[in-house]
């Protein structure tokens, strides 16, 4: 997989240049290249007009590149002044700490960006935006000419956003070039001078913000054909398997979700990273139980407060993080496949190795798992085959509702289309499938209906025949 192929990007001093693209378009990789964390295997980088070779994080830092991440990387137990000093102070030969100078510099930098933060405050006590301001102060103190901000407003309130915008505008006025990454289109028109759109690892266009509108940006972001062939829908949706009424969970950041899944249909759940899709799945599977609203399974109201209850109700969840949650890597695939059906396949808690072997062999054959046998440990399998093992574990429970979370993430193309075929067959066999995916073509190709989440709730229900533009517009919160 190439994360980036052919990106052209330029940044002037004194401008805010927005970087836009859907999940997996290559924004993060581009940043890693600019900050020296990853080495490009083709093309050139110039900083300040000088070509740069073998950019390392230290070299990037020297050249004035600073990055402010979504989650500030400060030491929570140290004070603001100490955190700034750790970034900026060279190691003095005597190892003495000059406390007054340290404080003074911190105070000066904080004042410069208009932040009302005491240098003596512990970082632990600061709010998220305050921590971001400390990061910006560090960048300024290091004499950064290029400041990269990765979704800085993702966790900020409206008011905090305005404060941050003011600081960004100050940076621009002082001649710093800012690369601003965001999913929020409205921020681009408020803040940015130019915008570059990435798609599938390529830059597909750069233009002045004044020449663009939201619609044309969305078009640039998604403008690709559904290149893969997806298996056709063959089933008529049957009875209602799942219905949610105003479902919410404060801890998961999910609120007022209304949704229906019928037997025999695949409902795609789309949305940007952080929209609350996985959180919704975790509620339905009892990991973070709901604290508001109602869940109906086959018309019956139920409460689900643990994964065991979810399994008992016929809900299966193939989680997103295959290596941590989907498969126990150190254990044989047969043990993995029977893990969710212990009470049924092992009555009285006694292991029945023969029955387990048989079940594993059946699934290995039916799903085409490539492994040397039922005893192969999970970590000896490729990503796609691990995913099939994870799927087998849940199919073994004979579920009524199958929730798939990014079922083909990190899976090679061949295994991907096999998994798609399996999903289609399952729907045909009468399962209700709720499929979370950040892969837009997958959502469009597989779904009978598409639910779009944004800000913890479902903001749009679209038909499976919708196009990429509609889904992306709903995910970005653009109202027609």
């Amino acid at each position: 997989m190439r994360a980036l192929k052919g990106v052209s990007f330029d940044l002037h001093g004194g401008e805010v240049h927005a970087l836009l693209g859907e999940n997996g378009a290559g924004k993060s990789t581009l940043i890693k290249v600019i900050t020296g964390a990853h080495q490009p295997d083709g093309g050139t980088i110039e900083i300040g007009g000088q070509p740069v070779r073998h950019l390392t994080p230290a070299a990037a830092h020297k050249l004035g590149v600073a990055c402010i991440y979504q989650q500030p990387a400060l030491f929570p137990d140290l004070t603001v002044a100490e955190n700034i000093a750790l970034r900026l102070e060279p190691a003095s030969p005597t190892r003495r700490v000059d406390w007054p100078t340290r404080r003074e510099r911190a105070a000066k930098l904080l004042h410069q960006i208009g932040a009302d933060i005491s240098p003596d405050a512990e970082v632990r006590a600061l709010s998220m935006p305050e921590q971001q301001l400390v990061e910006i102060a560090c960048a300024l103190g290091a004499g950064a000419r290029i400041v990269i901000m990765d979704e800085p407003t993702a966790s900020l309130t409206q008011k905090e956003q305005h404060l941050l915008f003011a600081v960004v505008k100050d940076l621009r006025a002082s001649g710093v070039g800012v690369i601003y990454i965001t999913h929020r289109l409205e921020e681009i028109s408020q803040l940015a001078d130019r915008v570059t759109v990435l798609r599938d690892g390529e830059s597909v266009g750069t233009s002045a913000v004044s020449e663009m509108n939201e619609a044309s940006l969305i078009k640039l972001m998604v403008g690709r054909e559904v290149s893969q062939i997806y298996p056709p829908a063959e089933s008529e949706p049957g009875s209602r398997v799942l219905a949610l009424k105003n479902l919410g969970c404060v801890a998961g950041g999910v609120r007022e979700v209304n949704l229906e899944v019928r037997a025999g249909e695949v409902v795609g759940l789309s949305g940007l990273v952080g929209a609350g899709r996985t959180e919704l799945a975790r509620i339905l599977f009892g990991i973070t139980p709901a604290d508001a609203g109602e869940i109906f399974l086959n018309g019956e109201p139920v409460t689900i407060s643990s994964p065991q209850e979810a399994v008992a109700h016929g809900i299966a969840y193939v989680p997103e993080d295959r290596r941590r949650h989907g498969v126990i890597l150190e254990m044989p695939i047969a043990a993995n496949m029977t893990m969710a059906i212990h009470p049924r396949i092992f009555p009285g808690a006694w292991l029945r190795f023969g029955a387990e072997q048989q079940l594993a062999l059946d699934f290995i054959r039916d799903l085409g798992v490539k492994a040397y046998g039922p005893e192969a440990p999970g970590n000896s399998l490729s990503g796609g085959n691990q995913q099939k093992v994870s799927l087998a574990r849940w199919l073994a429970t004979k579920p009524k509702l199958l929730i798939l979370d990014e079922p083909t993430q990190g899976v090679d193309v061949g295994a991907k289309s096999e998994i798609h075929k399996i999903i289609r067959q399952l729907a045909k066999a009468g399962l209700g499938v709720l499929m979370i995916s950040s892969d837009l073509p997958e959502i469009l190709g597989m779904s009978d209906r598409i639910a779009v989440m944004r800000g913890g709730t479902i903001t749009a229900m679209l038909s499976g025949k919708s196009d990429a533009h509609d889904v992306m517009a709903a995910a970005l919160g653009q109202t027609k």
Partner: protein, 336 residues
């Protein structure tokens, strides 16, 4: 389809083979150098003396398999011994009834650990470090540090000194617990769950395994068996004092880890634990029978046990180290 059968077969087999060889070497050496080592009586002696540590090590195995640890088992033994004495002497219960009550008390002590670990989600190391002090302190408070319960009736002392069908009475208890824990760990879904939890606690949760219930079970079981060990201990010495089983938790953990169970959870076996117990028990008994070193036997046995443990741990890492080296040199050769 035992989880330890294939994936870890080579490692475990190796480990257990080494332990068996070590045990044979110990027996051969002490038989040659020791006085009256190789007698049936001494064999029984070794068994009698290792029953309590054996019991504790057996129930420690599932706990360590889940990635946990129980430092409080030695203190639970002490508290249960004292409460047994109290129930028998002061409450006037017959020994068998007092014994049953003691097992219930042991379950309750384990339940305290389980509740703190699963409900409050505190780390087992810290929880059981706390209850280790708490239970021992309670035992001392009950006896005011000096009181000791003695003069138990012969019918009870039989448990610690008598023989049934030619074997020491408590050997039968040990045998029963060995079989039960072996079946639990290697033949039931409980054992599966322990391993799954040890490898990936979140992964086990996402697989619908009742993680909290399984962990709680392991700690409560440890409490019950620690109480049983308190009974055999009291019957063997004829006395129940607050310092009963002092430091036994460390012997038990040593035996488990020596037996090849990973302190990080997931990997391990009950038979490995048994070999670990045997290696330690034979070593300490044998040293006390070699005339030249008799007087320093207990110091020596502590030192040698420690050395063994470190060697076993290092030995377990060696194959990995060699593999990494080979890989490294191969890749650097390829680079050239």
């Amino acid at each position: 389809m035992n989880t330890d059968k294939r994936g870890f077969k080579s490692i475990l087999l190796r480990h257990e083979t080494i332990l068996v060889l070590l045990l044979i070497a110990e027996v051969l050496y002490f038989n040659a150098a020791g006085r009256r080592f190789g007698t049936l009586d001494n064999g029984f002696n070794i068994v009698r003396h290792s029953v309590e540590i054996g019991l504790l090590a057996l129930v420690m195995t599932p706990i360590i398999l889940t990635g946990g640890i129980d430092l409080s088992v030695g203190s639970m033994l002490g508290l249960c011994a004292v409460l047994f004495g109290k129930l028998w002497r002061d409450a006037g219960l017959p020994p068998w009834l007092a014994g049953i009550c003691t097992l219930v008390i042991g379950a309750a002590c384990g339940g305290v650990n389980a509740a703190l670990i699963t409900r409050l989600r505190l780390p087992p190391l810290i929880v059981t470090l706390g209850t280790m002090s708490l239970f021992r302190g309670l035992a001392e408070a009950i006896t005011q540090g000096t009181d000791a319960f003695t003069n138990f009736p012969p019918s009870f002392l039989f448990l610690g000194t008598g023989r049934v069908a030619g074997l020491p009475t408590q050997a039968w208890i040990l045998l029963f617990v060995i079989v039960a824990v072996w079946l639990l760990v290697h033949r039931t879904t409980f054992g599966r769950s322990f391993r799954a939890i040890g490898f990936a606690p979140e992964g086990a949760r996402y697989a619908g395994i009742p993680v909290e219930r399984r962990i709680a079970f392991a700690y409560v079981l440890a409490g019950v068996i620690a109480a049983a060990a308190a009974l055999t201990y009291t019957a063997r010495f004829g006395t129940a004092k607050a310092d009963a089983g002092f430091g036994y938790e460390l012997f038990a953990i040593t035996a488990v880890v020596l037996g090849g169970t990973s302190i990080f959870g997931g990997v391990g076996s009950v038979h490995g634990t048994l070999l670990g117990v045997a290696a330690i028990a034979v070593l300490s008994n044998g040293l006390s029978r070699v005339p030249a070193i008799m007087n320093t036997a207990s110091e020596l046995s502590g030192m040698l046990t420690g050395a063994l443990l470190l060697l076993a741990l290092a030995g377990g890492l060696l194959p990995k180290l060699f593999a990494a080296r080979a890989k490294q040199s191969a890749s650097s050769a390829a680079a050239k």
